[in-house]
C-alpha cells in the first residue's frame, strides 16, 4: 500500500510576481494605452508611499489603511499576489494600536518587491503583440 507523506507533498506556489494578461484584455491589447496605465499605477504607488510615510510619523492608522486599500484595485488588475499580500499585512497591522515599526518594515519589503513587479510588467508589455 502506497502512502503519501502529507508533510513532503509540495504545494504549488504562485511565484509569478505579476501577470499583465487580464489588463491586456481590459485594454483591448492597446500597447500605448497599457503604458499610460503603467504611469498611473506608478503614480498611485508613489502616492501610497508618501501617504504611508507621513501617516506613520503622524500615527494615523486609519489613513494608512485607507491608502493601502486605494492601491488594491490597481494591484489586482496587474495580478501581483505578493504585493497584495503586503497590502493585507499592512491593513492587518493597522488594526493594532502601536505597531508602526512593523508597517515600516512591510513597506520596505513592498518597495523592493514593487521594483521587481515593475520590471516584470514593462517586459510583459514589451512582449504584447499589437
Amino acid at each position: 500500500m502506497s502512502r503519501i507523506n502529507l508533510f513532503t507533498v509540495k504545494k504549488e506556489v504562485n511565484t509569478k510576481s505579476a501577470d499583465i494578461s487580464k489588463l491586456v484584455n481590459e485594454c483591448l491589447g492597446d500597447k500605448e494605452y497599457l503604458n499610460e496605465i503603467m504611469v498611473l499605477l506608478n503614480e498611485n504607488i508613489e502616492e501610497f508611499y508618501d501617504t504611508t510615510e507621513v501617516c506613520i510619523k503622524a500615527k494615523d492608522r486609519f489613513s494608512i489603511s485607507r491608502g493601502a486599500h486605494k492601491i488594491k484595485s490597481g494591484l489586482e488588475m496587474v495580478q501581483a499576489p505578493v504585493l497584495l499580500h503586503y497590502v493585507d499585512l499592512i491593513q492587518k497591522e493597522c488594526q493594532h494600536l502601536d505597531t508602526y515599526w512593523k508597517i515600516q518594515d512591510i513597506l520596505i519589503q513592498f518597495k523592493s518587491e514593487y521594483k521587481l513587479v515593475q520590471a516584470s510588467l514593462y517586459s510583459q508589455i514589451e512582449g504584447v503583440d499589437e
Binding site: I37, H69, K70
Partner: protein, 129 residues
C-alpha cells in the same frame, strides 16, 4: 457623436481611466469626478451615474441619498462596492440603486450593465455594448 452621458465618481485615476477608455470606445460621454463634491453634478445631464464606494469614507448612505436627489428617480445609479457588507448596508437602507458591481471591476460586466440600464431607461432593446 456621443450617444449617452455617464458620470463616474471614482477616486482611483487608474480605474477611472480604464472605465473611461472602455466607455468612450462605445461613444459614451464620460464625466469623471474624483470626489463626492456633488455640486458639479448638478450641471451635467447624466443618463447614468457610476459611483465607486472607495470615494466615500464614512457617510455612504448620506452621499447616495444626495446623489439620488440630484439625479432624480429616472436616472440609473450603479454602485461599485468592495465588500458585501457595503451592499447589505445600502439594501437595508432601501436606497434606489439599479446596479451593483463588485471591485475589482470587470469592464465587460460594466459595459453590459450600463447597456442594459440605458436600454431600460429609454425602453430600447437595440442598445448593445
Amino acid at each position: 457623436m456621443s450617444k449617452y452621458t455617464c458620470v463616474l465618481i471614482e477616486e482611483d485615476r487608474l480605474v477611472a481611466s480604464l472605465v473611461g477608455f472602455r466607455l468612450k470606445r462605445l461613444h459614451y460621454d464620460v464625466h469623471h469626478l474624483r470626489n463626492t463634491n456633488l455640486k458639479s453634478m448638478k450641471n451635467i445631464n447624466a443618463d447614468i451615474v457610476l459611483i465607486s464606494l472607495h470615494s466615500i469614507s464614512l457617510n455612504i448612505i448620506e452621499v447616495l441619498s444626495e446623489i439620488r436627489t440630484i439625479i432624480g428617480s429616472n436616472t440609473p445609479l450603479v454602485v461599485i462596492h468592495s465588500s458585501s457588507r457595503q451592499r447589505l448596508l445600502i439594501e437595508n437602507n432601501k436606497i434606489q440603486i439599479e446596479g451593483f458591481l463588485s471591485s475589482p471591476i470587470d469592464l465587460s460586466d460594466l459595459e453590459n450593465t450600463i447597456a442594459q440600464l440605458i436600454g431600460e431607461k429609454y425602453n430600447k432593446t437595440d442598445i448593445v455594448s
